[in-house]
Structure formats: C-alpha cells, structure tokens
Symmetry: C2
Subunit: 259 residues, 2 copies
C-alpha cells in the first residue's frame, strides 16, 4: 500500500512525523506537506504563484518527504499529479493536526481540505486531528496508533470511501479514557469571536481575531459529543455542498423564474 | 435594507463596483472587501496575522467601503462583528466574481466562502459569479441588474435563506440569450490539471498549476447545464459536509468499534 501524507501544520511538525513514522510499518509512506504552517487556510489552492518543492530530511528516517510552498490542497494535488506521478497512491492521510476539527470547524480547516483534495483526486482519504493543547510526541504517537488500527479496519474494503472522506478526531488521552471508535455527524461549533481593535505606531487601525468556543446543545450523534465521551469520532464527509432539501422550496418561492 | 458586499477579486475590482452601484438603488450598501485579489482562497480565515482595515474612496460614490488585508471570509466576519457592528446587516452579497463558480469549483472559491461566512453569521447570503472572460463593466452592470431582480423576488421572504446560501452563476450575455432563472444543483467540474515543471536560476524546482476544464456528462438539473442553456443558475448550498447516507455503511464496515 502506498500512502501520501500531508498536513496543515507544516512538514516539520510533530504530528505529521509521528503519523508517518507509525504508518510506515504497514505501508510505503510519502510525505508532501507545506513548508510552513497553513492553519485555517480552508480549501485554498495556489494559482497565481509557482509552487516551490524541496526534498527534505525527515528527521533522519528513510521516508521520502517534500516541502511545498503551498497549501495542504496544493500538496495533495501536486503530490499525486506531479511529484509522485509514477507511484499509485492508495490512500491519502492529512494530519495529525494540532487541535480538533469538529463541526463547523471543517469548512475552515486546512487539515480537512488536504483529505478533501484527496477525495477530489478519487483517492480514499482521511483527515486526523487531535483534540488537545501543548500536545507532545507521546500523544501524537498514541494517536497514530489509533489511525493504524482504523486503517486496518478499512484496508481490505477501501471502496467504501469512493465518494466520501473520513474526518477523524481523537480525544486527549491525557484526560480521557478512550472508549472506542464512533461514527458521527458534524456537530455545531460556534465561536464567540472577539475582534480586538488596535492602532499601529503609524495611526492605522488593525484587528486581531480572538474568540473561544461557545457551549451549545449537541445532537447525541455529533462528533463534539463523541469526543466528550471518550470516543474517537469518525465522520464521513462529502464535497457536494448542494442543499438538496431546499431546491423545491427555493424553486417555489422565487416564482416566476423568467427575467 | 442594509447590505454588506464583499468579493474575492478585491475592493478595486469592476465586478464589486457595478454590483454595489446597482444595489444601492434598493438598499444601504456597505462594502468590506479584500485589499487585493484572493481567488481560489477557499474558506481561509486569518488567525496568525492582524487584519489591517482602511476606509477607501469607492470611485467617488458615497458608498462606505473598507479594504481589509484578509480573505472574503475575514471581511464578512470582521464587517459584521466589528467594522459595522452598530448596523443590522440584512443580507450579504459576494461578487460579482470574474469567472464562474460551478460544481466542484465552489470548494475552492473565495467568492462562495464570503457568502458561506455570511450564512455562518446567520445572515441571508448570496454569492454571484459571471461566466465569462475579459468581462467589461457593461457585462457586470447587466449581471448586477439580474441580482437586483433576484433580490426583489426574495426580499419579502428572507427566512427561506435561514439555513442555506445561494450560489448564483450568470451566463455570458455576450454570447447567450438569457432565458430566466433556474434552481439547480452543483454539477461536476473536473480539471485536467497540468503542473508545468521548471527550474529557477538557482537550480531549484518549481511548478506552475495550469489546466483546463474537462467536458463531462452532467445531470440535467446541474448548474453547469443551466448556464449552458442560457439560464441564471441558482444553487442552494449548506455548510454541513456530513455525508449522512454513508453513516450506516461506514458504521457496519468498520466493526468492531472498540479499540
């Protein structure tokens, strides 16, 4: 099995290292990741600048690793179509992200966009995030073990991922007993955003985005609830954003449809 | 009615000017848009840098306009929560984009992400794109007229947009007779991507992303088909990416769920 791994924390982050290092026991691993942190980058791709690619030493392992001056989506596109064009990639992984990507977070998430681009490229794809702060290599290593367990569960039947990607969130093992995997739906995540207004030395106005998550009532099947109860949340995602249930209503409401 | 307008081509682009200039006949208009082009930026938000905000002269009109050193999603978030916090925004528009945002394009689109952020902020929101090349002010002006017509159809019943945003694509009026509006679903857009490999003067490898759209068979209800047949495509979108139809299958396939 050939696995392409990307992330949004950058090629030098601990999360991608522990993931690649664990996964290489069961597959050939190729790392193609941003040369610097690209969090909250959404599904951006680089069209107005060239993408610089550099082969990098991946902490003295024998893993082929490339640093790209782009986003996670760029890395997956460029990895599959150019850098590794002679290799048949069987699976795309994105992570392990430093922090969770739950509920509405996923539309902003670089980690998820890396896996989503894998799906656009018709590859089984999985995004992995760790719900913790100040995460050390030890936690990422344990997280990577869970990922390997999950790959083991699906590897003989990858067609189940032919039109869906998987978004995995791992609870913090330092304060949660892991109870197993749970298949979930996206919950609701809202932030009480606080833009802090400041004035620079030249008198110009600028803002810093701050904010913390708001506690909201969640569906019992949501990823947010699962994580809270010690389950590794497994959420199937798609990229078709059409709100099919609303087509009929909108059609009726905007009559007549002529100009 | 108070309308916030953003885009991804930047505050100085022709598309946003013609839109704002036409819409101001039916509403109070506030422009908050990126200070430079942010195409294919996806739903990126700026969390590691401050956002600079500058009030700008909007082509000698009396429209309040702000240039922000961020993405379309930043502009909408910052506009509603900070710059215009004392004004009740009734509707968010994003566009008119220079080029279409059809089918799978929407996951990469800065234009769509501006309107999607409006929906996250619980505002009725509409993204507007024009399917043409070398679009002049005249085409944008006509496009803006259609947008005003559409707003007219929905303005007394904005609750229909309480959990959905609208993605509008306008066919090129220079080579298509406009037959009316059509409510559609996202079609399939695939690109034959071609990464062109080059070597810089210092011997480093870099790639340019090229590529053209591949002609694919489309559902007759798709936005791609509608545009082709001279209809203004109206696609309701949501941000919940959960692939609900796959939850049961994935649950069955990955048994047992324990660690």
């Amino acid at each position: 099995m050939n696995i392409l791994i990307t992330n949004d924390d950058g090629v030098y982050a601990d999360g991608i290292f522990e993931l690649a290092n664990k996964v290489k026991a069961i597959a050939n691993v190729y790392v193609v990741a941003p040369d610097s942190e690209k969090s909250a980058i959404g599904h951006a791709i680089t069209i107005h600048n060239p993408l610089m690619v550099k082969k990098v030493n991946f902490r003295n392992t024998d893993i082929d690793a490339y640093a790209v001056s782009g986003t996670p989506a760029d890395c997956v596109k460029l990895g599959i179509e150019a850098i590794l064009e002679d290799i048949h990639i069987d699976l795309v992984l994105s992570g392990i992200n430093n922090g969770p990507n739950l509920g509405t977070d996923v539309i902003y998430s670089g980690t998820v966009s890396g896996a989503m681009e894998g799906l656009v490229q018709n590859k089984p794809s999985i995004a992995i995030s760790y719900d913790g702060k100040n995460i050390s290599s030890k936690e990422y290593e344990k997280g990577a073990e869970y990922v390997v367990q999950f790959i083991d569960k699906i590897k003989d039947n990858l067609t189940m991922l032919d039109d869906t990607m998987i978004n995995i969130n791992i609870p913090d093992i330092r304060d949660t007993k892991i109870n197993g995997f749970k298949v979930t739906q996206l919950g609701i995540r809202r932030y009480e955003n606080t833009f802090e207004k400041r004035i620079d030395p030249r008198g110009n106005i600028y803002y810093w985005l701050g904010g913390k998550t708001v506690e909201l009532e969640q569906d019992e099947n949501s990823d947010v609830t699962a994580i809270k109860n010690g389950f590794i949340a497994i959420t199937p995602l798609k990229y078709d954003l059409t709100h099919y249930d609303r087509i009929g209503r909108i059609m009726k409401e905007i009559q007549p449809l002529d100009i």
